[in-house]
């Protein structure tokens, strides 16, 4: 792994737009302990933040974790350093989406049954989170 050349720009943008500074994290990993969906993450939330601290921004963006994050805000509610990880994950998602790296949700993949049963709220939010 190596530091991405423009990692400092990425971190600066993240700091400004999300109001969250990865440097404030002391890696207590409480976020990972609190996360209800950590089981299917390839990197635990605190590891994603660690990658950002070290400047491995490409790896952080390639990780599944930001896409698994359900924005349930449990991590933010319990973080002892007052970091809002949900905002940081959103930042990583947005960078990837704005780079037009492809959408993460294809309407064709949904079954007719899902389309019928899913609450509208889930469909709209799913597409908002996963596509640009």
């Amino acid at each position: 792994m190596k530091q991405t050349e423009n990692h400092s720009r990425f971190i600066e943008e993240m700091k400004e737009r999300s109001g969250q500074d990865p440097a404030c994290c002391l890696q207590c990993a409480k976020c990972s302990a609190a996360c209800p969906v950590s089981a299917v993450m390839d990197l635990l939330p605190h590891q994603v933040i660690r990658y950002l601290q070290l400047g491995f921004t490409d790896e952080a963006c390639k990780s599944k974790t930001p896409w698994v994050c359900a924005s349930c805000f449990t991590c933010a509610a319990r973080c002892p350093r007052d970091l809002d990880l949900a905002r940081m994950m959103e930042g990583i998602r947005l960078v990837a989406l704005r780079r037009r790296e492809g959408n993460r949700l294809n309407p064709g993949e949904l079954t007719p049954e899902q389309l019928k049963q899913l609450p509208q709220q889930a469909l709209v939010s799913g597409f908002r989170k996963y596509t640009k």
Binding site: L26, C28, A29, K30, S32, A33, A34, L44, R81
Partner: protein
């Protein structure tokens, strides 16, 4: 115009790196009255001070201005140097070119311009300086120690051993403090009571020590050498001179309530001693719970007391006494983790704070020394310790590290293994911090010999599920989330200042930091002094601290107090207020605002056109005046001035800065 000398310090590169010294010196040469300028790399060094002394002699300087670090740092150093050269020490002004200039600005042009302005102001003030003489004050040869925990006891013993009488004021019915609540102490695992009790008894029996338990300080007035203190001795409702400490009263008392000493885990009676080794061994009637005080009947203790010591009519007494020095050692609390809902504290009986858990190991404790679950009385198999509950937490707790938790958790895990050999301990930590003699070795012993599992990470939530506690945590080193079926959860809650510390500090007259811990005068060089001369601090009221540190600081505070008491006379404040009696109309508004009662009315005689007149004017007692200057503003005719900060001087500074 007096002959002024200006001396600029480079402070290595600290000032010279940001301020252009040459420009400053050049400019200063043209300030009014300046006849000599010089600069040096380190003006506070001996060579630097000699430079000033030489110049005073050779150039016949009458006023000295130095541009250096903050006057709060080295003003006294340069005053001494000036005095050694034969000038009055108050003929010196300091311009703060470091803390207020070179360290807070980066642009050299701006910093240089500001340095010149600050120096110009100092020079303008200096030409108006007058020689001042500090009054000499008496010292009351007695010390007051506030707080009877291990720090207070140690300080009292040290002062008493040096030959001075000491009063110890303790709010609780017994001395002993937090240490008395502990079972064992790290890193040696010796029993807390075994090492504390002898000290408590020694303090009680020392001819120079007077214990005022169940008492509180109500008011502190005066100043170093002469603090006038009001102490409320709360009524125990027991005649201590008659009580033999037999304990019949609390055996017979029918009313039970929660024991503070046992952290609410056990009951005590309404008449009680907090713990068996209490000093003094004299019970107290808790009036909020006593049947007689609440409903006017019962009086069983009175009937049963063999020496007839119960005395319901006893009233609080106010003791007024003068002290030369005060040591504050009021201790700490453990944070109530109820804010941390995810740990289920307060919702499940098997989630405890470490101070509560400590009582489980004590033979006189709530479980008689057995480590068992409060929910079902069974010994635990899995115990999870959670570190940093409220420490290092700027969101909901304290931003600082509580310092002692890593060690007391290792201790409790070891004690647990000894009491319940089949128990497993899991410690969730962020960092293990064990700086201290024998500390790291102790913690490693817990991990290596006692099999305590250290997991680097935190706990997300404790789920009281069924009869066990599901602890969901993470081990960040392996990157694995971890679920433990625990029987007990122990929270290493942060050490915090006493709930009323801010109020207590206000009464005593010392200030505290943002967490309400009392402030030391200098974080490195004056660790036991406060900003109020003659008041010293010791123990965990200053910051979280373990026993060895508290004892060391207590002894240090005692030495400072003794050093003060040993002085024949103290030097008072030189910058005091002075009344120009010719202009004074005798309205005495000044008297009303003076916090020290230093101003009083006097009658003076005047001769006016051959007639003898008498009138009332204000007069300042220089020994009492502390130099705040409040009176100077209250004076309608401008007849009171503060020496060293006269109206003319401050106006001159304003003019010089605005030039």
């Amino acid at each position: 115009m007096p002959r002024v000398g200006v001396f600029i310090c480079w402070c290595g590169t600290n000032i010279a790196g940001t301020v252009d010294i040459e420009t400053v010196v050049e400019t200063a040469r043209n300030f009014p009255g300046v006849v000599h300028t010089a600069d040096y790399r380190y003006l506070c060094s001996e060579i630097g001070q000699d430079l000033i002394k030489e110049a005073i002699k050779n150039e016949k300087l009458e006023q000295v201005v130095v541009g250096t670090c903050s006057p709060r740092m080295h003003e006294s150093t340069f005053r001494k140097a000036v005095a050694e050269a034969g000038l009055n020490p108050f003929l010196l002004e300091v311009a703060n070119l470091r803390e207020h200039c070179s360290w807070v600005h980066q642009d050299k042009t701006e910093a240089t311009a500001k340095a010149i302005a600050l120096l110009r102001a100092a020079a303008a003030k200096a030409v108006l300086n007058a020689p001042l003489i500090a009054p000499r004050l008496d010292v009351e040869k007695r010390a007051l120690v506030i707080g009877g925990g291990i720090a207070g006891i140690q300080a009292a013993l040290d002062i008493a051993e040096a030959g001075y009488p000491v009063d110890v004021v303790e709010r609780e019915p017994s001395i002993g403090g937090r240490m008395a609540q502990l079972e064992k102490t790290f890193p040696t695992l010796d029993c807390a009571a075994c090492i504390l009790t002898p000290k408590m008894v020694e303090a009680a029996q020392h001819p120079q020590i007077n214990l005022l338990t169940y008492s509180e300080v109500e008011e502190v007035k005066g100043f170093v050498g002469q603090f006038d203190v009001k102490i409320r001795q709360k009524a125990r409702a027991i005649d201590a001179t008659k009580c033999t400490g037999c304990g019949v009263c609390y055996e017979k008392c029918p009313t039970k309530t929660e024991s503070e000493f046992e952290m609410g885990l056990a009951k005590r009676k309404a008449i009680y001693v907090p713990f068996p080794q209490a000093v003094p061994n004299v019970p107290v009637i808790d009036r909020d719970n006593c049947l007689y005080f609440r409903k006017g009947r019962c009086r069983i203790c009175e009937k049963e007391c063999p020496p007839q010591a119960v005395y319901f009519e006893q009233q609080d007494q106010i003791l007024e006494r003068r002290y030369g020095a005060i040591v504050v050692a009021t201790g700490f609390d453990q944070l109530n983790p109820v804010e941390y809902g995810e740990y289920a504290y307060g919702q499940h009986p098997d989630v405890l704070t470490s101070l509560e858990f400590e009582r489980f190991f004590n033979a006189a404790g709530p479980t008689g020394g057995k480590v068992v679950r409060l929910s079902d009385g069974k010994p635990p198999r899995n115990v999870v310790f959670i570190q940093c509950v409220g420490s290092r937490d700027k969101a909901r707790g304290m931003n600082y590290c509580s310092k002692i938790c890593c060690m007391f958790t290792a201790k409790q895990a070891i004690l647990l293994k000894e009491k319940v050999p089949e128990a497993r301990s899991y410690v969730f930590y962020i960092d293990v911090r064990t700086a201290g003699k024998g500390y790291e070795e102790f913690q490693r012993r817990a991990a290596e010999q006692y099999g305590v599992a250290y997991l680097r990470g935190q706990v997300g939530k404790v789920f009281p599920d069924g009869d066990r506690l599901t602890v969901k945590g993470v081990d960040s080193l392996s990157g694995k989330t971890i679920e433990i079926q625990a029987d007990m959860v122990v929270l290493a809650a942060a050490s915090v200042a006493r709930g009323d510390a801010a109020q207590v500090g206000r009464v005593i007259g010392i200030n505290s930091d943002q967490y309400h811990f009392f402030n030391e005068a200098h974080p490195k060089l004056k660790p036991v002094e406060t900003h109020t001369a003659g008041i010293f601090i010791a123990g965990a009221c200053q910051a979280p601290k373990d026993i060895p540190d508290s004892v060391a600081q207590a002894s240090a505070a005692a030495v400072k107090a003794v050093g003060l008491l040993a002085k024949e006379k103290l030097q008072g404040e030189a910058c005091t207020a002075r009344v120009d009696q010719s202009g004074c109309s005798g309205c005495l508004y000044c008297e009303a605002v003076c916090p020290y009662g230093a101003i009083s009315a006097v009658q003076i005689e005047e001769h006016f056109r051959g007639e003898k007149l008498t009138r009332i004017v204000a007069e300042v007692n220089a020994a009492l005046c502390q130099g705040c200057g409040s009176c100077t503003v209250a004076c309608r005719s401008g007849s009171i001035n503060l020496q060293g900060y006269t109206n003319a001087q401050i106006l001159a500074e304003v003019d010089a800065i605005c030039l």
